[in-house]
Amino acid sequence: MTGKAGPLSQERVLIVEDRYLLASELAREVERLGGQVVGPARTLGQAAELVGREPVQAVLLDINLDGELAFPLAEALADREVPFLFLTGYDADILPDVWRAWPRLAKPVDPRQLEAALVGLVEAKS
């Protein structure tokens, strides 16, 4: 997946999402914005492996991966200072306290919001 020119300018974005249709849709969006897609990963294991193997500038992280919660990976990413944002159907009040204020996009994801959030994520990093 080769990125084109765009606001993400070749930044590598890892997508962690268990539904194929949603993952491919996100990938399309990232590529449209000029980023390079890493993954997508369906499980925490796959995602952790990718993060360990390849440089990643940003992560889009679905919280519920077919019943598996993504918070352990979120902690690892935060520790390694990899910028990420949650994509989820959950409301804030049901999330654990520590993640309640973390950047989050509600599903279904609005492409414009996704763009703004991704750009913000990459800019904050640099």
Binding site: R19, L22, I94, P108
Partner: protein
């Protein structure tokens, strides 16, 4: 006499007898004779006088004697008189006392009469023969007696209470001198009387009959019965509701708990001051703060956890309000086990989370399907047909799960639903395979893929012409790393399969990329002679299918509990 004596002596002594007779002499002789006579007489008289004198003397002495006796008698009389006077005094005193006693007695009698007339207690006095001696006006409620009935046997009267044992009781009391007490009911109403039969003792402690009192305790009995049933209802309600009652004296800090409250605490009933209540260590400070606030505001409403001695953890809630009475400030309230409510709240929150997740995920999928269908359709008609079919397929799977409420769905049911939706005829198809229950996400994805195969078959393949035939078969087998599902979609009898999709359509992408991504499946899709042949093979992990015990919990719920 003295004069006589002197005259006589003078003449006799001075003159003797004289010799010359003369007249004078004669005269003198006469005189002398007369004198002698007179003297004799005088002598007699003197003698008589002397004797009289003597007698007088004796008399006088007697008089003296009598006088003395009289004097002595007089003295005695005086003494008697004094005694009589004293006696009289005493009698006066006694009389006064008697009058006082009589006055007291009259008062006492009057008091007694007033008491008898004013008392609401029906009382009858019977003598030893059980005839009526007296009764109080209040007796009217029990016996209809009038004053003229006094003296008649009590057995002649009918009581207004159900008390046939009256005569037996009275006789028994007369014999044993012990009192009898019993409760009797009214004859025609629901009044109740407390009857006491006592021996009648006179002042000198002689038993002279019996006293029977009838005390109307209807009000008290009714109140007591009402109180009893109210208390029973209250305690039953407390028991059923799992509610305990408590009281807290804010001045002395003393606390009282009902038996039910102790049960909620999980400790045996005893003075709660004696032992600390098993408040969860994490909640101790909050509870103390709540109590402090309750002291200020006069109202308590809080929830906390207890760690019961048996190791179980329960949620309790207490509500209370201050009750100020002069001299003491007390808070009265209830305590309740709200563990189930808390668990339900947690579960509801969990289910709400699950619902949010599913709804938004499925909306995301819908949106993605719409986008893709729009991108791949050449016209509105095609767009509409494809979109409707796909959304319907999605809806059907949702419907199956919603209808059964199960966490899994039979593979055969899932395939059949899709075939029914495209109106495939039973005589041109067969479904063969073992029972297999697929979990929600796998079922959703697989159903979408089957739907694409169905619509393709209806449009171009086996279901598009009468001679076409569709055989769907699947099997479960043990492969590397566990059990696997192999599903074959085999169309035959299609005369000309001239429409080979040149671009990667939605269905093809789903089968060739979506299934491998989501289910780790390996898939082949062939447009061979005679029809389409698709082969889908995937590992039956716990997340994909319900293996073994069908009652195992769906993985989602595990995840959501972790979310809490």
């Amino acid at each position: 006499m003295v004069a006589n004596d002197t005259g006589q002596g003078g003449i006799g002594a001075a003159d003797g007898p004289r010799p010359e007779p003369s007249p004078l002499y004669d005269y003198i002789r006469n005189l002398e004779a007369e004198l002698a006579v007179a003297r004799g007489r005088l002598q007699v008289t003197i003698e008589e006088l002397e004797s009289a004198n003597q007698e007088l003397k004796a008399s006088n002495e007697e008089y003296l004697l009598i006088n003395e006796e009289l004097q002595s008698a007089n003295g005695e009389l005086e003494t008697s008189q004094t005694e009589l006077r004293a006696l009289n005094e005493e009698l006066k005193t006694v009389n006064g006392e008697l009058a006082q006693r009589i006055g007291e007695l009259r008062r006492a009698n009057s008091d007694l009469k007033n008491l008898m007339e004013s008392t609401q207690i029906a009382t009858i006095f019977l003598d030893n023969a059980l005839t009526l001696r007296s009764f109080t006006p209040a007796t009217w409620q029990v016996f209809h007696l009038i004053d003229s009935d006094i003296g008649r046997p009590i057995a002649h009267f009918t009581a207004q209470v159900q008390y046939p044992e009256l005569l037996d009781d009275a006789r028994h009391v007369l014999k044993s001198l012990a009192q009898v007490e019993r409760e009797v009911a009214g004859r025609q109403d629901d009044r109740r009387f407390l009857v006491r039969v006592l021996p009648y003792r006179s002042i000198d402690n002689v038993v002279a009959g019996v006293v029977v009192t009838f005390m109307d305790i209807s009000t008290a009995a009714r109140a007591e019965a009402a109180l009893r049933s109210s208390e029973r209802r209250l305690s039953e309600a407390q028991r059923l509701a799992g509610v305990g009652v408590w009281e807290w004296n804010l001045d002395t800090d003393e606390r009282w708990w009902s038996a039910g409250a102790y049960q909620l605490w999980g400790v045996p009933p005893s003075g709660p001051q004696d032992r600390p209540l098993p408040i969860h260590p994490d909640d101790g400070r909050q509870v103390a703060a709540d109590h402090e606030r309750a002291r200020r505001t006069g109202e308590l409403d809080h929830e906390w956890r207890v760690l019961r001695p048996d190791g179980s953890m329960r949620w309790l809630a207490a509500k209370g309000r201050i009750e100020s009475s002069p001299g003491s400030r007390r808070m009265l309230g209830v305590i309740q086990d709200i563990t189930e409510r808390k668990q339900t709240e947690t579960r509801l929150k969990m289910l709400l989370g699950e619902l949010q997740h599913r709804v938004r995920n499925i909306l995301s999928v819908v949106r993605s399907i719409v986008d893709r269908t729009v991108r791949s359709s050449s016209g509105l008609e095609e767009l509409s047909a494809h979109l409707t079919g796909r959304l319907d397929a999605l809806a059907r799977t949702q419907g199956v799960f919603a209808r059964t409420g199960d966490a899994a769905v039979e593979l055969e049911e899932l395939i059949r639903e899709e075939l029914v939706a495209v109106a495939a005829r039973d005589d041109q198809m067969s479904l063969r395979g073992p029972a297999l229950r697929l979990r929600r996400q796998a079922a959703e994805t697989l159903a979408l893929a089957i739907h694409e195969l169905c619509t393709n078959a209806v449009k171009y393949g086996a279901l598009s012409e009468p001679a076409g035939r569709l055989d769907v078969s699947w099997r479960v087998f043990d492969g590397d790393g566990g059990r696997r599902l192999s599903l074959e979609w085999c169309e035959s009898g299609v005369r000309a399969l001239d429409v080979r999709p040149s671009h990667r359509g939605f269905g093809r992408e789903l089968i060739e990329r979506g299934l491998p991504y989501e289910l780790d499946a390996s898939t082949t899709l062939e447009f061979a002679m005679g029809g389409v042949r698709a082969l889908i093979e995937l590992p039956l992990s716990d997340k994909i299918a319900e293996l073994g015990a069908p009652a195992s919990a769906p993985p989602e719920s595990g995840a959501h509990e972790a979310l809490q």
